[in-house]
C-alpha cells in the first residue's frame, strides 16, 4: 500500500494527539503534510482518513473549543486513546502468551495477535514458550462464525438458512443473536427467533450459505439476566438416563457397550447379559446397531424395533 498514505495518517494521528484544542479541517490541512491543494479533493481524502482511523479503533472526537466556534473541529483525547497502565507478573505474562495461541489460525487470530502487540508495547513481556506442555485451541471452521460474532458484538439481527435435524431442506430464520457459545468443540448461537417469537439455539455447522445482517447496529437488546451458556447447555444437554436396556452381548465382544453398562452377567451359551442405561432411543439404537451381530436387544421393545429398523436399512 501507499507509503504516502501511511505517512499522512501517521502525521494526522500525531497532530490530533498533540493538540490541546479542537482543530478545524482547514487547520488540519495546514498542519499535516500530504493533503492535496484543492479543498474538495482534500475534504474527500480527509473523510476517508477519518474512517480509517475509526476502523483502527482510534477515538476521534468532534467538537468546538467554545460556544462562538461555528465550525466543528477534531482532536484525539490522550486519555481515550491510550491503553491504561498494565503490569503483568511473569506467571501472568506466561498465561497471556498461552491464551494468545488459542485462536491461532481461527477467526480471532489476528485480533489476538494485535492485542498481544499492544500489550507488548505497554511493556508486557509475553514470550511464547518453545515447547508448551499444553496446547489448547479454539477452531472456527464454520463460515458463519465471523458474521455472527460481528452481529453479537454490534447487536444486529441476522437472517440465514438453517438445516434443522432430519429436515429435507434448509429454512430461512431471522434471529436477534444474544451470544455465541462453544460447547464441546461445536459453535452455537442463541437468541430470539423473530418468526417463532421464542428463544432458539442454532448450531453454526448447520447454517447454509451466508449470514446476512437484517438491521442496523444497536437494534438488538439482550434481555437482562440472559446467560447464553446456560441456554445452549439446556438445549444440548442429553436427558438423563431414564431407561435401562437389557442386552445380550457376545462373550469377548461389545466392549464399547460394556464400558457404560450398569451390570454384566456371564452366560453359558457364549452370550453375556448386559444392562445399560440410556436416554434417547434413536441415538442408542444407532450406537447398538453399529456393533452388528455382537449384540441383541431384549428390552425395551421400542429400542429393539429401532435397532432392527437400522439393520434392515443397512441391508437394503
Amino acid at each position: 500500500m501507499s507509503r504516502r498514505k501511511t505517512e499522512r495518517l501517521l502525521s494526522l494521528v500525531v497532530c490530533l494527539l498533540s493538540s490541546e484544542r479542537y482543530l478545524t479541517a482547514t487547520q488540519i490541512r495546514a498542519a499535516v503534510p500530504g493533503y492535496p491543494q484543492s479543498f474538495d479533493a482534500f475534504k474527500r481524502m480527509f473523510e476517508r482518513d477519518k474512517e480509517e482511523l475509526r476502523d483502527l479503533g482510534i477515538p476521534l472526537d468532534m467538537g468546538t473549543n467554545g460556544v462562538l466556534d461555528e465550525e466543528v473541529g477534531y482532536r484525539i483525547y490522550r486519555q481515550a486513546y491510550m491503553l491504561p497502565d498494565i503490569r503483568l507478573e511473569p506467571d501472568e505474562a506466561a498465561v497471556l502468551a498461552l491464551a494468545a495461541r488459542v485462536w491461532r489460525r481461527a477467526e480471532l487470530a489476528g485480533a489476538a495477535a494485535g492485542a498481544l502487540l499492544k500489550l507488548r508495547a505497554a511493556g508486557v513481556d509475553a514470550k511464547e514458550a518453545q515447547q508448551p506442555e499444553i496446547e489448547p485451541r479454539l477452531q472456527t471452521g464454520e463460515a458463519a462464525f465471523g458474521p455472527l460474532w460481528e452481529a453479537v458484538r454490534d447487536r444486529r439481527p441476522v437472517t440465514f438458512r438453517y438445516w434443522a435435524v432430519g429436515r429435507s431442506e434448509a429454512q430461512r430464520r431471522e434471529l436477534e443473536p444474544w451470544g455465541v457459545v462453544n460447547r464441546r468443540g461445536r459453535w452455537y448461537v442463541a437468541g430470539h427467533d423473530r418468526a417463532r417469537q421464542a428463544v432458539r439455539v442454532f448450531r453454526l455447522s448447520r447454517i447454509e450459505g451466508r449470514v446476512e445482517f437484517s438491521g442496523p447496529p444497536g437494534s438488538v437488546t439482550v434481555p437482562p439476566g440472559v446467560d447464553v451458556r446456560e441456554l445452549v447447555g439446556a438445549w444440548d444437554e442429553r436427558a438423563p438416563p431414564l431407561q435401562t436396556a437389557v442386552l445380550r452381548v457376545r462373550a469377548g465382544a461389545g466392549y464399547g457397550i460394556r464400558r457404560r453398562a450398569s451390570s454384566e452377567q456371564a452366560g453359558a451359551d457364549g452370550w453375556d447379559r448386559v444392562e445399560a442405561p440410556f436416554s434417547d432411543v434413536g441415538w442408542f439404537a444407532e450406537h447398538l446397531a453399529s456393533f452388528g451381530p455382537d449384540v441383541v436387544v431384549c428390552e425395551p421393545p421400542d429400542l429393539k424395533d429401532a435397532v432392527m429398523t437400522r439393520l434392515k436399512g443397512a441391508l437394503a
Partner: protein, 334 residues
C-alpha cells in the same frame, strides 16, 4: 483480518508504527534485531518504520518534528515522542480474543489437574488486569463462552499431569472404537492437547513407534511407570492447527450417501468432499486408516448412510446386518 505486524495495508503498518514507539520507550533501549522479530518484520522494514517515524513533521504554527529517535549501533533509543508514548487501547475484537481464551483456560484449569494451568490464581489475576485495561471494550466478550469437555476422568488427567511434570513413561489401556477393543501400550508423554473441545495426550507410542494422540475419555486405565520417558529426537509433534487427524496416502477411501438423518456425519468427521444430492441428501468421501470404523458407522446409520464405495466394504456391512437380524429369529429376516 490480517495479523498486526504483517506487511500489508497502510492500516496494518500504521498500527505497527503506533505500537513501535511505546514498545521502545517502555524498554528504554532495545536491539534492532530483537524488535524486528517481536513485530514479525525484517530489520530492513523496521529501519524503514523508524525513519518514517523520525520524519514526521507538523507544519503549524512552526514546522517541528515531534519524534526524536536513533538506532545507531543496532540499538533503538527514543528521545522524544510525547503524544504517542503509550499504545492505543484495545479494540473490542482484541480484548474479546484474549479474554475468551483466558476464560477458557480458567475453565480447563478448574479441574486443577492441567499442567501449566495448575496455578489458577495467575489466570484470574490476568483476567482481572486485562478487563481493567480494556475497559468498555471488554464487555462484548461476555457474549462469547467456551465450555470444555469435562468427560475426561479426573484421575486420568491427574496422572497425565504427573507423568508430564516428572518426565515419566505411562502405560495406557486404551479403547479403540473402530476395533471395539481395549489396547495396551506404553507411551512417552509429549503434550496435552485441547482441540475441538476434547482433551488428548500426545506422546510417543512405543507399540506403534510413532507419535500418537489419545483421547483421554477413551483411556480405560493409566499407570505412571517408574521409567523416564524417552521421546526420540525424530518424534515430530502434531501440527495442531492443521487438524489432528489428517489422511495419509495409504488410507482407505470410502464413499457414503447420507440421508437427512445422517447429515451429521459431514459435520462431525473431516470429509475429503461433500456433495449435495438434493432432498437433504449428501454424498461424502471419507479417508480413514481403518475400514472397521466406516463399517460400524454405516451399520449404525442404517438407511440414512449407505456405503457406495468400496464394494467389499458395502458387502461386509450387508453381511453384518443380515447376521445381526438373524439373531432376532426367522421373522426378522426379510
Amino acid at each position: 483480518m490480517t495479523p498486526a505486524g504483517s506487511p500489508g495495508t497502510s492500516a496494518d503498518r500504521l498500527q505497527r508504527l503506533l505500537a513501535l514507539v511505546p514498545y521502545v520507550i517502555s524498554r528504554k533501549v532495545v536491539g534492532l534485531s530483537e524488535t524486528a522479530s517481536a513485530f514479525g518484520v525484517s530489520e530492513r522494514e523496521l529501519v524503514d518504520d523508524l525513519n518514517m517515524l523520525w520524519c514526521v513533521e507538523l507544519r503549524t504554527p512552526d514546522p517541528y518534528c515531534p519524534i526524536d529517535l536513533s538506532y545507531e549501533g543496532g540499538e533503538i533509543v527514543i528521545g522524544q515522542a510525547e503524544p504517542m508514548d503509550r499504545p492505543l487501547r484495545l479494540g473490542v475484537d482484541e480484548a474479546s480474543a484474549l479474554l475468551v481464551a483466558l476464560r477458557m483456560l480458567a475453565e480447563i484449569g478448574q479441574t486443577g489437574e492441567v499442567p501449566g494451568l495448575a496455578d489458577r490464581s495467575a489466570l484470574s489475576r490476568t483476567i482481572a488486569k486485562l478487563e481493567a485495561a480494556a475497559g468498555e471494550a471488554a464487555a462484548p466478550s461476555a457474549q462469547v463462552a467456551v465450555q470444555v469437555d469435562q468427560h475426561a476422568e479426573r484421575n486420568v488427567l491427574a496422572r497425565v499431569r504427573d507423568a508430564l511434570d516428572s518426565g515419566k513413561r505411562v502405560h495406557l489401556s486404551y479403547y479403540v472404537p473402530a476395533r471395539d477393543e481395549p489396547t495396551e501400550r506404553d507411551v512417552d508423554p509429549m503434550r496435552l492437547l485441547i482441540v475441538e473441545g476434547r482433551t488428548y495426550l500426545e506422546g510417543w507410542c512405543r507399540r506403534a513407534e510413532a507419535v500418537r494422540v489419545f483421547r483421554l475419555d477413551r483411556v480405560l486405565s493409566i499407570e505412571v511407570l517408574p521409567v523416564a520417558a524417552q521421546v526420540p529426537a525424530q518424534a515430530e509433534p502434531v501440527d495442531v492447527d492443521a487438524g489432528l487427524f489428517r489422511p495419509s496416502p495409504g488410507d482407505l477411501r470410502a464413499v457414503l450417501e447420507l440421508g437427512p438423518g445422517g447429515r451429521w456425519v459431514a459435520e462431525y468427521y473431516p470429509c475429503e468432499s461433500v456433495e449435495d444430492l438434493g432432498d437433504g441428501r449428501l454424498r461424502v468421501v471419507l479417508r480413514t486408516p481403518d475400514g472397521g470404523w466406516v463399517r460400524r458407522l454405516a451399520l449404525g446409520l442404517g438407511e440414512e448412510g449407505q456405503i457406495t464405495e468400496p464394494a467389499e466394504l458395502a458387502a461386509a456391512v450387508r453381511a453384518d446386518a443380515a447376521a445381526a437380524l438373524a439373531l432376532y429369529g426367522p421373522a426378522a429376516t426379510p
